[in-house]
């Protein structure tokens, strides 16, 4: 299992478009990937749940990667976050 934190810098937070892109990327890996904000944890491949988290600029999220090629998945999600959010 790989876990890392990321603080959102995008002014709009995880709004519809990046949520869609994130879900798409998360789906492309064979690992189970979740995003946690505060008490709530959702699957990163689930678009609506991801939007429902209401992640805003300045919020810190925790990404957890389980199973499959964990390194590749964690790296992929990390670089997506850094470039888009």
């Amino acid at each position: 299992m790989i876990t890392f934190d990321y603080t959102i810098r995008d002014e709009l937070g995880i709004h519809a478009r990046p949520a869609g892109m994130l879900a798409k990327i998360a789906k492309s890996f064979d690992s189970d990937i979740t995003i946690t904000k505060g008490e709530k944890t959702v699957g990163a491949a689930k678009l609506m749940a991801l939007m429902g988290l209401g992640v805003k600029c300045g919020d810190t999220i925790t990404v957890t990667v389980n199973g499959g090629n964990e390194d590749a998945a964690a790296e992929g999600i990390k670089s997506f976050l850094e470039n888009n959010l």
């Binding site: 689930k46 609506m48 429902g52």
Partner: protein, 544 residues
């Protein structure tokens, strides 16, 4: 005559008959079913249809409003495939033995409720997206096709509100305006309306909905946000006149939009647009430019009180590339100094600023600032088709120095596993006589040349651009300038590079034929001139 006041989201005037936009009644009844399997099959079939429809809408939006605005429909497709949404529907069908349409309607309400109760207004507005996709699925189950355009003449569409997919699906040839009782100016629908150039008014209120009726005459003034129902003769005449003037202006635009930039004898040329801010991209798309031939990056620096960060720049470049994709965007690196200055650069006062520390000279003197911009550009390059061009080149060694810095930046990005495109085109501006004269040496180093005619004129004719007293000596059609451009074009083509012109001369239609004969590959002009130049190209016959 009654007047209603709303908010205009796109400035234009429409006078005509009203057509009230009514949704098919998506009244859904709860029906108990014995066998749930056929319901699940119906759901799958309807979802497939809905996604297929959205794909078409996406393609239409892509053409009409650009990729960034079309992406909402990609999100809609993904929402339909969302695991949680689907699980909720199928579990309800199975667990409660109910019909698929009912399960979709209830699930839509639940998810819409989740978004409505969130504390930020952006997410609250997403409730409309969930309802929109769910209604589409239900409509697909009922077998009702999406054929809205029932009128033979252009009408003013009136609705309580319009979903983005409804806005894009409207047959633009039949819609002269749309006006709604609700909606916010930040909704996707308002954004789409602006991009589609349809006069639009939102927020006219409930009262308006009860009074409006099919076939009534109305005036929609997108400038003032006013809707006048049953206008009297005087108002009608006034607005018809206004409209006539407007349509004459637009006639040329409509005639030439979507047409190729090709001469009578079949020679093609690219016509791109120059922009100085990200806000001009709408104008670029409206005027049907083939791409952006000059994106002046100075505004990023001039509007600030300190150096813009890599992140700030990256976001702007990314947005420009995404909005224009798959069309090309050529970004010119910082061209500051001379008449354009920012205090925080702390530049010395110069006797001859036009001949001083400006543009690439400043960047090469302060590589730490230059590299921030290069990094932001390389990072953004994966989001579209990027070209980078460097201003004020006079020598081969400058280009070598620039490329060494680019190589450093690439290496640093590689070390951090940051992606960038391998297909970035690198070019230089030909705006000094020196660059034109050694264009045979420069051409093999680059992918393209872009001629900056304003500076090329100033430097070739030794004429200060800002001094009105010497206007009569400053002949922009001077043979010396045309020879320098022709020489650069020959050398570019001999070395497999292409050449464009991005200065004011590019929009001078008395020279269009001259440029075509020189073999210029691209002209980049202000968005408003794109179609004027296209008109000139299409009237040119090089065989004569």
């Amino acid at each position: 005559m009654v007047r209603y006041k709303g908010k205009g989201v796109y400035g234009a005037v429409a006078v005509g008959k009203v057509s009230v936009f009514r949704r098919r009644d998506v009244e859904v009844k709860r029906v108990r079913v014995e066998d749930t399997e056929p319901e699940l099959a119906r759901l799958e079939e309807a979802k497939e249809k809905a996604v297929a429809q959205l794909k078409q809408i996406y393609e239409k939006a892509l053409k009409e409003v650009g990729e960034a605005n079309a992406r909402i429909f990609e999100i809609h497709m993904m929402m339909i495939e969302d695991d949680d949404y689907n699980e909720a529907i199928t579990e309800m069908i199975r667990g409660q033995s109910v019909n698929a349409a009912y399960a979709v309607a209830v699930t839509a309400d639940n998810f819409a409720e989740m978004f409505s109760s969130m504390d930020d207004s952006y997410m609250q507005a997403r409730a409309a997206d969930v309802r929109d996709i769910s209604n589409r699925i239900i409509a697909c189950m009922n077998g009702s096709e999406n054929n809205r355009s029932v009128c033979d003449e252009k009408v003013i569409i009136c609705a309580d509100d319009l979903a983005p997919s409804e806005t894009v699906s409207l047959d633009k040839d039949k819609v002269m305006a749309f006006v709604t009782a609700h909606g916010s100016s930040n909704s996707h629908t308002a954004i789409l309306a602006r991009n589609m150039n349809i006069p639009a008014i939102i927020g006219l209120g409930e009262e308006f909905l009860t009074q409006i009726r099919d076939g009534a005459t109305a005036v929609a003034d997108g400038f003032t946000g006013e809707l006048i129902l049953d206008p009297d003769e005087k108002i009608l005449a006034e607005y018809r006149q206004k409209q006539k003037e407007e349509s004459e202006k637009k006639a040329l635009l409509h005639e030439l939009k979507g047409k190729e930039n090709v001469t009578v004898d079949g020679k093609r040329i690219g016509i791109f647009a120059n922009i100085g801010s990200i806000d001009n991209i709408g104008a670029v798309l409206v005027n049907d430019a083939g791409g952006i031939g000059l994106f002046r990056s100075e505004f990023l620096y001039l509007e600030k009180s300190d150096y813009p960060t890599e992140e700030e720049q990256f976001k702007i470049y990314k947005r420009a590339l995404e909005s224009m994709a798959p069309k090309k965007v050529i970004i010119r690196t910082l061209d500051i100094g001379a008449d354009k200055k920012a205090d925080y650069f702390d530049l010395h006062k110069e006797e001859n600023p036009a001949l001083g520390l400006r543009a690439i000279r400043l960047c090469l003197s302060r590589p730490e600032i230059f590299k921030v911009q290069l990094r932001a550009l390389y990072r953004a390059s994966v989001y579209g088709r990027l070209g980078i061009m460097f201003p004020m080149i006079t020598s081969v060694s400058e280009v070598e120095e620039i490329f060494a810095l680019c190589a450093q930046v690439r290496k640093e990005l590689d070390a951090n596993n940051v992606e960038y495109s391998e297909n970035i085109e690198l070019g230089i501006m030909i705006e000094t006589p020196a660059a034109a004269l050694i264009s045979d040496k420069l051409a093999p180093m680059v992918d393209f040349f872009s001629v900056g005619t304003n500076d090329l004129t100033q430097y070739t004719l030794a004429c200060d651009r800002q001094n009105p007293d010497i206007d009569r000596f400053c002949d922009t059609h001077h043979e010396a300038i045309l020879r320098l451009i022709e020489m650069s074009a020959k050398n570019a083509h001999a070395n497999g590079a292409w050449i464009g012109i991005c200065g004011e001369l590019a929009a001078d239609t008395s020279l269009t034929e001259t440029f075509l004969r020189m073999g210029i590959d691209e002209l980049s002009v202000s968005p408003a001139f794109v179609l004027k130049v296209r008109d000139a190209v299409r009237k040119t016959d090089l065989s004569k």
